[in-house]
Amino acid sequence: MIPVTVLTGFLGSGKTTLLSRLLRHREMGRTAVIINEFGEMGLDHELVETSEEDFVELTTGCLCCRLRDDLVLTIHDLLTRRQRGEVPAFEHIVIETTGLADPAPVLQTLASDSALAAALKLANVVTTVDALLGLGTLERFPESSKQVAVADRLVLTKTDLAGDDAQLLCSRLRQLNPWAPLHTVVSGEIAPSVLLGRAQEAVNPLRWLGHSVSSGTASGTAVPISDGRRSAPHGSSIHTFSIVRETPFCAVTLTLLLQALSEHCGGNLLRLKGIVQIEEDPERPAVIHGVQHVFHPPTWLERWPGSDRRSRLVFIAKSIQPAWVTALIETLDAEVRQVSRLQRAGAGAVS
């Protein structure tokens, strides 16, 4: 499994500079780089020093819009050439998106191609944010908010130029994404581990959950957490919220919930991660993870990581209300249980 980092960030936020500097590190030596540039003529690749055979440029389109098939073909080609020994045996892939890219479709593309899913694992989504202009960009461009919202790591660039808005920017970033570690670039230098990350850390939703529900209120039913970490309504309709549920989910309820979320708001569900107690196997929590309408089969942990056995779902979404998710969960669960009761009663009558 080759880890993949998606490097995103708005136009001019310093993605290419960051990548260029990081590629000078020895730890990044076995990294294949795919740069997506928007425009008839790409320039960013000229600014990145890397071995030519490990480098691919995708131009005249945006990964999140027109080039998703190209991305799949490009990675397939890279993997094939790696297997044949035509390129060095790279151990990591970095995909730099355009500054205007919505990263969610890119993640979805990586997940939904069966061959890629078998060969790759997402290590990190790293988003650069310009400390000088970032606040205004977040207010004006929804793409920028999405890039921040789905990040596993945020990198604040141009901090030496930042003005009085820096604190406001950090607050806004925390509203959009409460759990991603915020790294600051100092004199253009940052450790490669920020980009490379550790795959398990990024994939593991427990890291999100630890942040988002640590002070969650226990309840007998599903409750959205209103702890001030949800985003303000102005500027962007992207927000984050958590649902905590003490009652275990029927497995069917969980499936129906994912189906309903996908069907009615797939495009607005930027990311969903969760740890869920399933009634049929309560000792082994199920970890779920999805981007838009694409979900993985649950990963089953051997045991609960702590004493808290509540189901916890963390959403990054647009136009999805926590109360609706709660209502969906509860009505679906009630329906499933009622059907089960009727079936048992019917079986009893027959016997």
Partner: protein, 114 residues
């Protein structure tokens, strides 16, 4: 409460949030009013489309959702029955947001790649 069916009690309790959240997810501006003591609601969209929804108990512990499209005070002969929450939400979406993009749930082949 006029019924003690836990399923219908739950529907009654969450019906407003269920419908309000759905229309919001479809980017439809609509007013949702619900009955205090029955699983019954009316959804009136800004464009004038009005829909009446109920979830009624059946004789053997089952239930059925019903959706009727209203035209002013005249109920159109389109009263249809639906068996589940998902089905009634689909029907409501067809009435209020027929052009809303619908996605199918995709489960990836493996669990570690996303």
């Amino acid at each position: 409460m006029t019924h003690s069916n836990p399923h219908l009690d739950c529907v009654n309790h969450y019906l407003k949030d269920l419908l309000e959240g759905a229309v919001r997810a479809w980017d439809v501006v609509a007013d949702v009013t619900v009955s205090d003591d029955r699983a019954e609601a009316q959804v009136t969209a800004a464009d004038g489309v009005a829909v009446h929804i109920t979830c009624r108990p059946g004789p053997t512990g089952d239930w059925q959702w019903h959706l009727s499209r209203l035209n002013g005070k005249t109920e159109q002969p389109r009263n249809r029955a639906y068996p589940s929450v998902l089905a009634i939400l689909r029907a409501l979406r067809e009435e209020l947001a027929p052009d809303h993009q619908v996605y199918g749930l995709v489960i990836t082949p493996r669990s570690a790649s996303l």
